[in-house]
Subunit: 597 residues, 2 copies
Amino acid sequence: MPVYKAPVKDTLFVLNDVLSLQNYGNLPGFADLGPETLEAIVGEAAKLAEEQFFPLNLPGDSQGCKRNDDATVAVPDGFKQAYDAYCQGGWLGLAVPEEFGGQGLPYTLHAAVGEYMSSANISLTMYPGLTQGAIAAILVHGSDAQKAKYLPKMVEGIWSGTMNLTEPHCGTDLGLLRTKAVPAGDGSYKISGQKIFISAGEHPMTENIIHLVLARIEGAPAGTKGISLFIVPKFIVNEDGTPGARNGVACGAIEHKMGIHGNSTCVMNYDDATGYLIGAENKGLAAMFVMMNEARLGVGLQGLSIGEAAYQNAASYARDRLQGRALTGPKAPEKAADPIIVHPDVRRALMTMRAYTEAGRAFTLWTALKSDIAHRSPDAVERQMADDLLSLATPILKGVLTDKGFDHAVAAQQVFGGHGYIEEHGMSQYVRDARITMIYEGANGIQALDLVGRKLAANGGRAVMAMFKEIGDFCEENRGDEKLTFFTKGLKKGLNDLQAATMWFMQNAMAKPDNAGAGSTDYMHLFGTVVLGYMWAKMAKAAEDALAAGDPRKDFLEAKLVTARFYMERIMPETALRKTRIEAGADSLMALSADAF
Amino acid sequence: MPVYKAPVKDTLFVLNDVLSLQNYGNLPGFADLGPETLEAIVGEAAKLAEEQFFPLNLPGDSQGCKRNDDATVAVPDGFKQAYDAYCQGGWLGLAVPEEFGGQGLPYTLHAAVGEYMSSANISLTMYPGLTQGAIAAILVHGSDAQKAKYLPKMVEGIWSGTMNLTEPHCGTDLGLLRTKAVPAGDGSYKISGQKIFISAGEHPMTENIIHLVLARIEGAPAGTKGISLFIVPKFIVNEDGTPGARNGVACGAIEHKMGIHGNSTCVMNYDDATGYLIGAENKGLAAMFVMMNEARLGVGLQGLSIGEAAYQNAASYARDRLQGRALTGPKAPEKAADPIIVHPDVRRALMTMRAYTEAGRAFTLWTALKSDIAHRSPDAVERQMADDLLSLATPILKGVLTDKGFDHAVAAQQVFGGHGYIEEHGMSQYVRDARITMIYEGANGIQALDLVGRKLAANGGRAVMAMFKEIGDFCEENRGDEKLTFFTKGLKKGLNDLQAATMWFMQNAMAKPDNAGAGSTDYMHLFGTVVLGYMWAKMAKAAEDALAAGDPRKDFLEAKLVTARFYMERIMPETALRKTRIEAGADSLMALSADAF
């Protein structure tokens, strides 16, 4: 049976020792978050994840969701109770402003505990996750009346939310979408069309479902400039705030997916459904991107979450499974064989997962903190800088953490040998569940293009320059510290490759955009490798500082240093390969005619 | 719906232009294999794969296998008919000696057409595939009476075969196995125990199933030195060769696997089943390794096969799916959007699959030809040399082609975006099916250890020296050919890294074996990258030669040169990274205590 323990100690190390959350007491919501409070909150979330979400993960996968003939949808046993516990614990609105029923705590904290929920049960966590995305869009683009009408119920979790973008013929290219909106004369619209891949599209866990739907108002321009965003409630809300008449939206089918079987991914049919415009006409894409950007961070976090869960299972199995003997002679001579964790190749796999996951956690919380600063700082310059880095980091975080999360699930499954291929051990589920994170909310190739095509050049490269400066400064400031030399040297080498690749794009991709596209995925991973290396350098410094101060977490801190070393020895050297590939350009990619494939 | 066309032109290019099969007319079975005959045979296999195997692939996955209450097993609809067509076409015994009913044709040809069958339907192809492994073991280790009794029916496909190694507590470490054999007094044995993960363990497609079973004779030594191999027929064979009494072996359950659902992977229970010793007492592991080595090549081929099938689907989808516009402006302005094959990042994925798959095909057939020479050459020195290279190549082929086949299935699925995650498109199946190839017949970490721990040092490094010499000589011989300079230069650079890494092992792993284990997986891939690069250099030379001779396959040959260039630009540079990792050694891997994971 699978195992999972929330890595509370690691989370607190990042929040307290690496990011020094206590220094941000000036930001709204951060004031009372001393180490004890943090530990209490994070510990409560760990309990919920371990005790209520996790036991439903494997059964939820095998039971799945089912559409009944009346278009209602059944979800796995126990999901409703666990969802209710999550809502009642206040977790759904943890970072939502208090005026709408939230707790107003940092988004950083929301991300920290969100990791545990997704590790424990990604399919279940997606139900409130979609609601959180919808809340974010309504918060930014909704009218005051819309906020008052929908937000409190959504924050409480009595109503849930969805996002409806994809249609059968269009996903990435939303300009092609056909769902139409016809003015009804009373300020509302009649929405008709079909949406696919709609997570949590229909389920019995909430009394209402608030669908956010992209559609084209009759007569609007073609392409992305004619798309508007609508609120389409499953039950039209009465004047008194109660759910009223059933709206013309229904689940047409449940998709037959490779994984996340516990989440009801639906084909949604809209048939003259009543919808309410949110934000301005024809500005729907911008409004949807508010959800999308938050969702991208959330999906990156899912990659991290599954990688962590898979790692824990692989480590546990490797400690227990007796098979063969160590290359250096028996380590457990009293047993029939040694545990397979004695084998360097098994440890290579485990250390790789661990090195990425721990750095991925730091990077996620570092990015989440930028989001908090960008939204809450009283200082406009600080907000701007944080927003720059948040925008730059988002595609890297989504693309790299999900690619790696999937790799780790596969590697963890491999540690189990044949048993990993059998569903009962749960490793197949991690692989199948992780696979979607590379695809949804913008496939990772799109993240790479977003990075190279938009984020690099934005504001004359202001964000990327700031990032390079922050990493360069870190190396410079710690130059004299011998204990850190190994780490800063490795980081500096990676940064040099990243800067050279960036320069190569400037010189070669302006005139020939295919050179940017040809190197985009390698660039995203090159950037990710350097940023995660930066996180390791910061963690190494925090560990060294704490050890020097006589911190009682000696073994824990020394393990950080070992893992940091592993990262610099085995992972950071990838930057040179990525740079070489980028500099190869587009020629050999574009030489063949489409027919030759 | 998925698509598949057997790559006949590519196969013939490797057989005729690269390997020059016509030069081996002196070997038994090779005499009449001119280009026309080859084309006819390969074309027939293509037809069978495309028309009979492939249409059953997706339905077979969703239908799966089912154990009935009476312990019989149902396989997917249509499997029996397609299996019969395969047997009636003589494909099962293609490379088996004529005296046992085979056609005595080259194993190389068997591998060439085997690729198509596994591309079209891996689960179905495994049924005869297991029989072929069992035939190989009986051919080498069986008595004349056993050969006469079992082989003709197995070659005809009327009886099938299985291999029974794994038990719940042991897979890699067979020394731990507990299945016991008690002499029955009449020369036979009573076999009792449980085996798991038994492919094609029970099914209704043949009138008998010949299980090859590893067991420990009562009183035999513990560990691997006390293991014997037994023939355990499902129905005990009467004197007249007909199936007689039902033996004490039955399917206890069908495993719930991630993929290859069309193959009946069984828990097999042996309860005083009658078994016949094959080969010598306590020498069962050696006998099983005859099957195992052939099976490893077969599994490597499966990796290639799924990679090819997934590639074809991704290429087809990329040509058809309209979404967005090319970075360089619309390429299909008359359509609502461009096909996604205009995007360099999509082509990067496709070219990567293609570069590995085409080189993997050449490497597989190159290795299969070594097997033919090792078994059929009249010249003892030639046999020895070929056997050396076959032994060396086997773990590389198995490990690298299956790791890459899985990667390609994942990358191909990614090209489909969200649609790739939906079972109906078939891409999820390729990923799920490919996943097992990295695990069974020795997990890839075990292949890497076999390479580094056994194959490198065997006979004083004779095989690896021969391999380095062959590649080095190729570079040297073609040094003056300007058209090949780009390829030989890239290859030479890779070879240098491989030689340096090999030297590092010699200097650092003797005294400290963990250094070998820590670098084993990187070394396997480093070796694979160089060998596949060698295949590309050979293919480039064959293409240049043919073009210079005015060969009419102009576009086809020029595409080979483009893909060779892509390989050298983007894939070969990995060798430096692998070498760096190997030279990092074991220290940071072994530093943590097992509890720290």
